[in-house]
Amino acid sequence: MSRLPSAHPFDLLPPAERNYFERFGNGLVVVLPAQRPGPSEWGRGGPPHGGAWIHLGGDGKARAFTGKVEVGQGTRTALSLLVAEELHLPLSSVELTMGDTDVCPWDMGTFGSRSMPDAAQHLRLTGAATRVFLLEIAAAQLEASPGDIELLDGQARVKGAAGSRSIGYGELVKDLQRIELVPPSTEPTPPSQWTRAGHPAQDLGSREVVTGTRQYTSDLHPPGLLYGKVLFPPAHGSKLLGVDLSRARALPGVTAVQEEDFVGVAAPDPATAQAAMKALRAEWQTTAQPSEKEIVDYLRRHPTEGEDSWDVLHYETGNVADAFAASPVSLQATYTTAYIAHVPLETHAVLASWNGDRLTVALGSQTPFRARHAIAEALGLPESSVRVMVPPTGAGFGGKHADELAVGAARLARASGHPVRIVYSREEEFTQAYFRPMSVVDIRSAADKDGRLTAWEFHNVNGGSAAARLPYRVAHQKIDNQPTDSPLPQGPYRALAATANNFARESHLDELAARVHADPVEYRLRHLADDRLAAVLRAVVQRAQWVPRTSPVGPTGRPDGKGQGIAVGLEKGGRVATFAEVHVGPDRRLEILRMVTGIECGAIVHPSNLQNQVAGGAVMALGGALFEAIHFENGRILNPKLSEYPVPRFHDVPPIDVVLLDRPDLPSQGAGETPLIAVAPALANAIYDATGRRLRSLPLVPDGTVP
């Protein structure tokens, strides 16, 4: 094996040339090779991936590596459990490294709920293969056949032989420097046989969290640290004409940089950095931007091609026009969702440090490999000269794609010769991050004389296509979406388009059920084309003790002001149903009495964490459903503070009963996004039941009262 500089990123070398043993000591390394087809091949055989690897060392520990990152969604523990499962090791003997571009497999990014279907599957395969190699090694040393060896809690011994010698994994591999590839025939342990995964487990790193010793990116403070700040435009749509750095540079210890579009300063203390920002003299050209009050019309009038062809859905079956003409019942309505902000409690943070020609960037990011590429390209470096690491991160929700911030910190660190840390203020977080896109959804539907759905036309403007397809049986369908030239920056968000599309569809289905005097649950079950989703719906209405709607909702709702609502959804391979019961009193104030939400996402890996994701996702969804909205005028964000942009608090959260349906016979799917998508329509449907008022725009009750 050739000796290479210890800093060369593993993913840029063939497996045999990576210095695993120099870095981690002797042992057995098993590698699942990468699959990186071009973007045009995406969707065939799944998205591209960088594989996985496991190093089993002389200390008996399994070091597993994945390019996915942990930003609070709990995958570190879940993935570690799966490695522990395959290797028959205690959880404490597994060390999982995530998202470190020097030693982890390449990964496109942690989004789209792919950690379970992809990274988990890759680590299971790699773990299973490691186990097979370990059995062979143990068999040789114990003079038995591999089939007679059993592995238990890090020890290998001959099965059934009472008092037989056992050897620790570390002892078995301590003299090896062996690299193997995962054989194609490898089969991971089926979930029905799991003894660690799928069972209660404590989250890794808990003690560091509760003692305040977990170091997030914003907590890192190396010697010689400078505090960086970035000059941002006064409004979206502004262009920098020129900037005078001289007054800032005259301040003690200040570095000021203008490179391409980036202008920033770095200073030895926060107050000086602040003063240096004030000393910058920048000239901006602003152009008029559309404002909130005209946004729906603006989006409709500014269609674009879309950035990627797979952003755009055009689905058609049957003959929609003929079906509408032939159907006695039809309904048409438009549903909108506002731009909203991610508001991770830890704002965007980066620390950039140079060591000679090599740059290390600690970054709160969901896309470390993309950041590495962006930094290398912007600074004219080979990718092998850049290392991006992702320390514990104070949440992401799809909003931590921080390439530009990382490039800026690297520029300031290069110019100053010091490590530079940039942490966004809350106001910067609100004004400089991108938002969840606004959606405008037009739906037209038709039913026959028995109320059966006959035709469905669905058109999303600006918001995207996720979960737009129907989980219901309808013979004639036309479903599409139209990208637009959004005036505000928009991007990934936890359950982004699925929230908007599910809100529109499940609200509309409720309206149609009311029109044909059907019970909302019975109406859904009558049309559902997905047995798994129907099973979740049945489980939720049973737990919630749904009262079938035997009479139509009157124009003023129920006399007692109480209403119940239901909604379902299918997204990212998971199935969800949410029930809400609300009360609207004479003062029109909305009170959520209780919610039940159920999910089925295949085999459950980490039940406690899944419960957290489902309940937490429902709480996050409450904010967007009830009151969160970014207000903007002429390119400026009008409410860039937590005092002006409320997010859910203790007093907003009703009792939430979580129903988990385990399916050990099905592959595990992600559950970070799906639990959000049925919350808003369940609430809108419950409000309708309580009051007779149909609300078709999110947020539903910005001031807490039903209009």
């Binding site: 509760v210 305040g212 503070k641 937590l642």
Partner: protein
């Protein structure tokens, strides 16, 4: 508002009592307590979340009462006893609220957790048997964006119901 507040006042030598130890530091008296704890003393368990006292991530105990360190001028804390999350455990023995957060799994990204725990300790010190409504009201100034509120309530209830805490859970 930014995480770091500028000041034009001259530096004056003062002593700050944090986690049982006196820290002589030279600082501007109107700097925020948060800024001093994090940037001067390296006590980064106290978090910046908003800089305007809305989120509670920066809460510390001042004479046993939870305060928002981001809007507390450090001058107001001089001569008083400050406890940060790093000073809550007794050696290896976690405070019961810390232990309950672990047992219940009452965090996700963990960034709000130090502020949550100190707010809970402050509540239990003045009301060792809070009702669920009292817990929600007392904790309403702390934001968990991951949405873990129900488990946080559960963790606090767990401590409030434990006999060992009957006579108060002050650090």
């Amino acid at each position: 508002m930014s995480p770091e507040q500028a000041s034009t006042l001259p530096r004056a030598p003062v002593s700050l009592r944090v986690n049982g130890a006196d820290h002589p530091i030279s600082l501007e008296r109107d700097r925020s307590l948060l800024n001093v704890l994090r940037e001067e003393l390296g006590l980064t368990g106290t978090k910046y979340g908003c800089g305007e006292g809305e989120c509670g991530a920066c809460k510390v105990l001042v004479d046993g009462v939870a305060v928002r360190s981001c809007i507390t001028p450090v001058g107001e804390a001089i001569g008083r006893s400050i406890t940060t999350i790093e000073g809550l455990a007794h050696g290896d023995r976690l405070h019961p609220v810390q232990q309950a957060f672990i047992d219940v799994g009452a965090f996700q990204c963990g960034f709000c957790t130090p502020g949550m725990i100190l707010a809970a300790v402050s509540l239990l010190a003045r009301n060792s048997r809070p009702t669920e409504g009292e817990i929600r009201a007392a904790m309403d100034g702390n934001i968990c964006r991951c949405g873990g509120y129900l488990r946080i309530v559960e963790a606090i209830q767990k401590v409030a119901q434990s006999p060992s805490l009957a006579d108060g859970g002050t650090p």
